[in-house]
Symmetry: C2
Subunit: 373 residues, 2 copies
């Protein structure tokens, strides 16, 4: 049994969150209700987007978005070659075709310069993420989107709390998803949200969240939906977390700053790629470094130092067994950057309650092992 | 504003459930963890089935089952013409084709005698429910299944606590789904479960519940999955409910018995169809009656008496707007019974804390209105 001294993530969750849950039990309202509404309003206000829709998790959020956009069998959706599986599994869930496009070597986000050659007559959307909380090159993505008349979908699962050119990240595109999974910057334990700027799309997704039922028409089903509801229990946890969000982000930034200092303090073999664009800031869901001998060092950090890390992500998505071995359709462009980054990237522990001592311990262990290997 | 005196359903949820949630907060384990495992073990033991898998809700349970069975575009699945939309929307979610087959006039369940003519070379499964908690004609369904070599899927969303020929209902088929939605006989607020008898299928679904990740292989995706996890918070609520299950069922039976007495006590125009097969028992998720002028009486019960009812279900599924107006494929057989029942059925309030006074009030109101209309 490995003893973990420093976990990879550690949510800051306790009495405030429990109090919200107790409050729901006392009121008797536990299913999707008043707390879900308040939570939606809080987030839509924070992100300055007119419509928000809480759902059971971030994956389901993308599923509903794709369905509402009418994306189905044979349609193509451009996705970054390096992202979490949900960004592409949800495309495959529609029997649509993910098209893997290369990433930017600085931010590891979808590279706007690589999109044009991937676009065909079947392209229905360009899905992008903000890797590890570092905002994507939104201005240039938008230019490509407009030039080709293909809408953007923002998978903002990792970027709540980040800033892009002075504006909060997570709901820049006409439609965006977010995740509040336990390891995220802010959590509902399990949960997600959809943001959108178009009322008709929001109305459609409201129905799809609840079996396609129009409001007040019980057991009548207007569109293909599912049960994507968030309970008021999880929403209450989110409300308590939302109150702490500025503090949670600030603490993450402090951890990252100290890591930055450690890895720049000597002639380091460690490449850090977390710097955001001008007038922007990173939410630091991940603290990624690029190193040689990544797999070996990751194992040594775990077994010799008790430090848990993540490899996000270990391969370009077309190399995932699910795409190699099944009948699922996909296309891929040349993606040398994604090939390179997935072979080198390691995500170090980062969470709000991380002490200076813990950060130094991790930093020194990484320096030692990189020197040694 | 209508004042509801008698709700249609009223979950029995309180301190025991809250204590389980507090326990999870104290332990720090809130995501899918020890309580989910204990909950799965409890249910699989109760239903005498080897494998159980807690998921985020009953709809998602069916989605995973259909995916694990490899049901995809163009495949046909036989479903009862009268059931909740999730039994068929999940088929459409796979871009597969639901084939609507008629129901039995006594139990309102899929009629085994009507299945054979609906089977084609493309038929991949026969999905059946236990309407309102009254067990389906499982022995004859199994005969049809075996004769045609088409597997059964049990949508046990409504039947936890029922008994069919001496054995608990909900996991009779090789694979079955269950729902613990708030209105159900037993609840986790939001939640569902999959039961199966085949280890390989269970292993496959374990992966699909968590993004297709094999155990211990973080960010590796072997099959097409989603996030279908249940949190330990919802599982804890389920554990407390599970302790009360025999009591909850017993109280529902008492309510039904008194309704039976009321509607048989005079030359009644009300048809009650809740009698189970021999050596079997109904879990009484619904108490359905068949009456003329159903829509009008339902409205009068609400507005004149403050009695909330449900019409489950108001139309055969092929008449749902989603199937009439969209490009979703479906087939239908002749379904005169489903046409008849959906035009007459009304589901009366039934819940464990319903008092004799409340039951008499509802019963008398229904008798009055049926006499009057």
């Amino acid at each position: 049994m490995i003893q973990i001294k420093i976990p990879w993530a550690q949510p800051d969750i306790g009495e405030e969150e429990l109090n919200e849950v107790v409050d729901s039990f006392r009121s008797g309202w536990l299913t999707m209700g008043p707390k879900v509404k308040t939570f939606e309003k809080g987030l839509s206000s924070f992100l300055n987007v007119p419509y928000a829709l809480a759902v059971s998790n971030g994956t389901v959020a993308l599923d509903l978005i794709l369905k509402s956009m009418g994306i189905g069998p044979g349609d193509e959706v451009i996705v970054p070659a390096m992202t979490f599986f949900a960004s592409t599994s949800t495309v495959s869930y529609q029997s649509a075709v993910p098209v893997f496009v290369d990433i930017d070597p600085q931010t590891f986000n979808l590279d706007p310069n690589c999109i044009a050659e991937a676009i065909t007559k079947k392209t229905r959307a360009i899905l992008f993420i903000d890797y590890g909380g570092n905002p994507a090159d939104y201005d240039n993505l938008l230019k490509v989107s407009k030039r080709h008349g293909v809408p953007l979908i923002q998978d903002g699962a990792q970027s709540l709390g980040a800033v892009y050119k002075g504006r909060p990240v997570g709901a820049q595109a006409q439609v965006a998803s977010m995740s509040f999974h336990m390891a995220k910057v802010m959590t509902t334990v399990e949960g997600g949200m959809i943001f959108c700027r178009k009322k008709s799309l929001w109305h459609d997704m409201l129905k799809r969240r609840n079996h396609g039922e129009p409001a007040g028409k019980k057991y009548t089903h207007a569109v293909l939906g599912t049960n994507a509801r968030m309970s008021d229990i999880h929403a209450g946890i989110g409300l308590a977390q939302f109150n702490k969000l500025p503090l949670l982000i600030e603490k993450r930034k402090q951890v990252a700053k100290l890591y930055d200092h450690i890895f720049s303090s000597k002639k380091s073999k460690i490449q850090v790629s977390t710097t955001p664009y001008e007038n922007s800031s990173n939410a630091y869901f991940f603290y990624p470094i690029l190193i040689d001998q990544r797999d070996k060092i990751s194992q040594r950090l775990l077994h010799e130092y008790g430090i848990d890390t993540r490899i996000a992500y270990p391969m370009p998505l077309w190399k995932q067994p699910v795409y190699r071995s099944s009948r699922l359709s996909f296309h891929k462009m040349k993606c040398p950057v994604a090939e390179y980054v997935t072979s080198k990237v390691l995500n170090l522990p980062i969470f709000p309650s991380m002490t200076t001592e813990m950060i130094n311990y991790v930093g020194q262990a990484v320096l030692n092992e990189v020197e040694r290997c």
